[in-house]
Each structure stands twice: as structure tokens, then as C-alpha cells.
Amino acid sequence: MMNTAQERADSMLTPEAAALVETYFSRVHGALLVAAAGECEEAVDDLRTHVLEALAGSAGTSDDVTRILAELGTPEALAAQCADSSDELSSDDVPSHDERRTVLVGRVLGLPYDWRVPTASRVARRWWDPLNPQIVVARVFGIGWTVNYGALAVRLGLVRPDDEDVPFEQVPRRWLAAALVLPLVVTAGLIVLFALFQAGLPDQVATHYAPDGSADGFSSKGVALLLPAAVALFGVAMAAWTWVRKRPALPRVAAGALATMLAGVSIGIYGQSVAQAHGTPGLTILLSALAGAIVLPFLLLVILSRVGRAAEQRRDLKAASKKGSV
């Protein structure tokens, strides 16, 4: 359960001080269970890391711990506050039975909608929820449905629902970095395309196509470059932000997967404009880039999940061979 930051901070505390922190947060978790506010767990874990970081700058005595925890209030009050402010849907809550639903979340003409600002954790829970067997789930933002890649991977026999206790939590850091490197590489591919082709494009290029592949919408070449660039950079910025904010592994990986998808779509849009300008018929470029934009994030999620499972297995099997089986 502990990440490295916590382990480092724990080692700097006196045993009494560490016990105080432990007691405080197990009471918060207990209160969250009672409030059935499981979606707060993540926020509380973040808070715990933050507290330990703050303590790392102190002498690490019981007095320091008491002073910092006093600022947070009682564990029960903290849990209640979190449960109130949370408007998340948990994966096993059917939206139509969710008492906390607001005008921002619901159904219109049978289509689910959700206009709350998408957060990395909400994207993460929809995209990778192997415990939920539903492959098609309500979108994180907008109207309609999206794919639960976790359920798809389970259905394809690539992972089991309970392979990882907490998705991606045990993935070693150097592997986790793939969630940031992959969208960066795809975005770099887009930049290479810009460098190679932008200067040679005519002033007006195709940006919209009829189903038969003929162009039926045109933009200036500046717009044809700016839109895909903005989309790809938004994704990369979001993925990077999860690292800056030291988010848990699941939001980091999901943001990386989403960024990879956005960068892939951008390559498709820009690449198709280039192909049209060079007189290449059909939508081959756009369609193959879109296929890549769907498959690459899936591969990222599946591979990292299997790396996480392998890490869990190494941890448990090593412990078992040391102590003898439980």
C-alpha cells in the first residue's frame, strides 16, 4: 500500500509519531467506509502523502504530528467533508439509481450525459475498470458512451478482474514513465510531420471529408496545423499535470492513454490534410491513424496492468518463499 514517498517520510518519524499518523488515517478510512464514499479514498491517500511530506520538514516528533493533524480536524469530520464534496459516481452505481445525481449528470432520450468538468480520476475510472464487466460505459464528458478498456481486456482474456489490487499501483516507476513517454513520442511524430510538410502546403487545405473520401471542407493551412497541435498539446499537458501533482498511478496512466489517443487523432487529421494536398486519394491516412489512436492506448493500459500484476506476484511470491506459505 505504501509508495516510496511515504516510506521515506515514515522513516523520518519517531515510532510514536508514525503511529499517530497511522491511527488518524485509518479512522478517516473507517469513516469513509461508513459513509460509503469509497471514491474519496484517493483524495485521502493524496492528503496522507501531503501530511507526510510536510512532516519530513519537521523534527518528526509526536508534537509535530499532533499540530499538523489538528489543522485537518477530526478524522470523522474530514471524511464527512470529503463525502459531501464528492459528486463522483462509483463504478457499481447505475446512474439512474444514484441519489446524488445532479442536472449535470443524467439521461436524455436514453443517452447518458455528464457535463461535469472531466478529471483525470474520473477518466481513469471509466477507461480502466476491470472489475466492471460492462465494456460500454457512459462517457466521462459529453453525451453517449465510451469504452471501458479494462472490461475489454478481461473479455479478451488479457487480464483478470482482480489481477491488481489497485490498478497500476505496483507498476515500477520506470514502466509508469511509459504513460508519459508514449504520448510524447506520438506528439513528436506530429511535430516531425509539421516540420516536413507545413512549408510545402498550399494556403487552403482540406480539413473535412465526405464518406467517400473526397474533401468537402477547407481551412487555411495555419488552422490545419493549429487545431491538431492544440489537441495534442492539451493531452500532453494533462498527462504531465498528473505527474506534477503527484497523482496516483491510475490517473497518470489513464491521462497518458487519453493523451496518446488525442495525439494519434491529431496525426490523422493533419496527415490527411497533407495527403489530400499531395493528391493521395481516399482516407487511408486518417483511418489508419484513428485505428492507432484506439489501439495504442489499449496496449499501454494492458501492458502496464500486466507489469503491475507481475510486480504484485514478485512481492507476494518472494515473501512466501521467505516465510513459508501462509
Binding site: H29, L33, G38, E41, S91, D92, V94, H97, P130, L131, N132, P133, Q134, R160, P161, D162, D163, D165, E312, Q313, R315, D316, L317, A319, A320, S325, V326
Partner: protein, 114 residues
């Protein structure tokens, strides 16, 4: 409405599935697929993988069950679940409550139908 009825039934089963998992693990540890299969062999419970796995995850977070990867006699390692000490206590109190509920319901339903 049929859907209301379905959801009432599924709510009603949710609590029972928890007790069923405790009871199963009380007899010894088991891995996820095994739990799904053994509980699935009781059609009355209407249990599927989609019910069992989220519940296992929640019970583990609550510290009532624990899991660890272990070598399996056949094939790759498996994640085995077992009851923790607090899970044992929870099972005992739930089993007592269950007896009370079934006794009361037997009596109520018996009177209603006869």
C-alpha cells in the same frame, strides 16, 4: 415496474453475497475464479463475476479479507483470498443476524402463504 423490482432484488442479494463469500472463505482460501464458480453453482444467488470481483475489492479495502499471489498446483500463480481476523468476527455476527432474519422470515412467509 419490472426494472424497479429487478433492482430491489439485486440490492437484496448484494448483502447476501457478502455473507456467502465470508462463508465460502471460512472453509479455506480460494482464488477469484474459484469463488465465482462455486457461488455461481447456486443459481438462487444469481451471482456473476461482475458482482463478486467488485465485492472482493471492497471487502479487501475494508480489511475483512486479504489476498496474496501464490503458486498454483496447475498453471500460473493465482491470487488467493482468505478471511482476516476481523473478517472472522464479521462472519460470526452476520451469521447470527442471518439466522434471526431467516427465522423471522420463515415465520412471516409461512403465515402469509398458508
Amino acid at each position: 415496474m419490472a426494472t424497479d423490482n429487478d433492482s430491489r432484488l439485486s440490492q437484496f442479494r448484494k448483502g447476501v453475497v457478502e455473507l456467502a463469500i465470508f462463508a465460502l472463505l471460512h472453509h479455506g482460501e480460494a482464488y477469484g475464479g474459484e469463488i465465482v464458480e462455486r457461488l455461481g453453482s447456486h443459481p438462487g444467488l444469481a451471482i456473476s463475476a461482475g458482482t463478486v470481483y467488485p465485492l472482493l475489492s471492497r471487502l479487501k479495502k475494508a480489511g475483512l479479507i486479504d489476498s496474496a499471489w501464490r503458486e498454483s498446483p496447475v498453471g500460473p500463480p493465482r491470487k488467493y483470498y482468505r478471511l482476516t481476523a476481523s473478517g472472522d468476527i464479521e462472519l460470526a455476527s452476520m451469521a447470527t443476524a442471518w439466522d434471526g432474519v431467516t427465522d423471522a422470515m420463515d415465520e412471516l412467509l409461512g403465515k402469509g402463504t398458508s
